[in-house]
């Protein structure tokens, strides 16, 4: 379909003008003519915009916890991640785990991988699994102000990571 204004370019913007309750009129314009007519609206958005919006959504109850510390590996802070929408290293997935789950709910409607597993990874997975679980219990303990338990878990994590 060609633009109704210039009749030259393909119409990419389609509007329905509501003249009164019964009368509606369809308008089809190319981007340039629409701009000339002062119609300002977004014709498309990038995934970054969308992601930025998702990440910056009002924080739900789940992520009401403190902002996590920056990643010790790559140095990226949670704010860096929020603005860019990109992780700095694989470790960020653990460091920001508490914040990520609600984000994954929004993006993927899921929190856990169910697909392919690389053959080489499987040997490291069992230990990683245990570590991840310990870390979850640690942040839980901290949230519940159970510092004795937290110290115990922290030492256990330290020992396991030391064996790497």
């Amino acid at each position: 379909m060609l633009c109704q204004n210039c009749n030259k370019k393909p119409a990419t913007i389609h509007l329905t003008e509501i003249i009164n309750e019964e009368e509606k009129r369809e308008v089809h314009l190319c981007e340039e003519c629409a701009k000339e007519k002062g119609l300002h609206y977004k014709t498309h958005f990038s995934i970054q915009d969308l992601l930025g919006n998702l990440i910056n959504m009002p924080q739900g109850a789940e992520s009401a916890q403190e902002t996590p510390k920056p990643c010790p590996e790559c140095g990226i802070s949670y704010d860096d991640f929020r603005t860019r929408g990109r992780f700095g290293c694989k470790n960020d997935y653990r460091v920001f785990a508490g914040q990520l789950e609600p984000l994954f709910d929004k993006i993927h409607h899921a929190r856990r991988h169910t697909g392919k597993v690389p053959r080489r990874a499987s040997e490291n997975l069992a230990r990683d699994e245990v570590l991840l679980d310990l870390k979850e219990r640690l942040s839980e303990a901290i949230n519940n102000e159970d510092y004795e338990k937290a110290a115990e878990l922290r030492d256990q994590i330290g020992r396991m990571e030391g064996n790497r």
Binding site: M1, K9, P10, T12, H14, T43, H44, F45, S46, I47, L51, E73, C74, G75, I76, R84, G85, R86, F87, G88, C89, K90, Y93, R94, L100, L103, F104, I107, H108, H109, A110, R111, R112, H113, T114, G115, K116, V117, P118, R119, R120, A121, L125, D128, E129, L132
Partner: protein, 355 residues
Amino acid sequence: MSIRLAEIAGGKGEWLRAAGPEADIAISTRVRLARNLANFPFHNRLSPEQAQALVDFVENKIRRALNNQNLILQRLSDLDQTDRQILLERHIISREMAESTKPCAVAFDREETIGIMIAEEDHLRIQAMRSGLDIGKAWERVNALDDLLESEMDFAFSSKYGYLTACPTNAGTGMRASIMLHLPGLVMTKHIEKVYNTVSQMNLAVRGLYGEGTQAHGDFFQVSNQITLGKDEQTTVREVDAVARTVVEYERRSRRWLREKGAPKLLDKISRDLGILKNAFIITSQEALGLLSSIRLGVNLGLIKGLEIETVNELFLASQPAHIQARHGGELSTEERNAIRANTLRAALQPASIG
């Protein structure tokens, strides 16, 4: 311009052959996997030196693991702007990579059935391309490639979040299965908006010809999955395939309707558009894309004789700016390109007629 790239620009990618299933509507299928190495920071935290080390490392591994695949290994730093543009127009590299200032590289085969981008947003973007609607085969191919590469390197992976990617939208399988569809019937009958909305509701994305953030031009639309976490690869393959097939079916219905109810108008449009292409001396790539879309529909409906669909598919590429420069053998101004484009199209379309 490198000699090799000029040769590639003149070549025919497998995915252009219009030989696959539903190829009158589905141009091509691609499945890509995003992978990162466990022992390097992600791309945005790589120093130029680290990026170079990553490229060196992966290139070596590719030479070992894929030495029988006859791959062309190309460093982007050795290419000028036109060369990069050729690879972009052929969908061998992404826009991000074409504009990248850090060391990066790409490996692909001459038939353009597989490609591996090195140091893109993720360390590796492994992809397989097929003509027509053929997601299952593309997945099998890319999965096998991934297995070969994985035997040589450790990928960043967690049992919880799957393959760890730079962007959380890719985490899990890291897989994007996309079909490029030509939907002039749905556009002409004004049903495209409905398709757009329905597809979006199913958590699939509709994008333009050159991926994310680009607008649909020349009635080309990409359908792809959005969700990568919590759904395994086979399920995603099945879902995207089912949706693409439904869209193809609706496009067929629109085309039938156009032939039956809108015949005079349709014939008039296709005939006029062919007339312009056969007679124009100056034409922009944008205009060419729109007109060629109409010609493609005309050939598929049997309204235009003397022209193969494969030729039309090739003309879409041959009309792109860098491909015109490659053919001509040097830098050209926009005006010069518009004149050469018109000449190429006039010559290629002379045998075509309304019949």
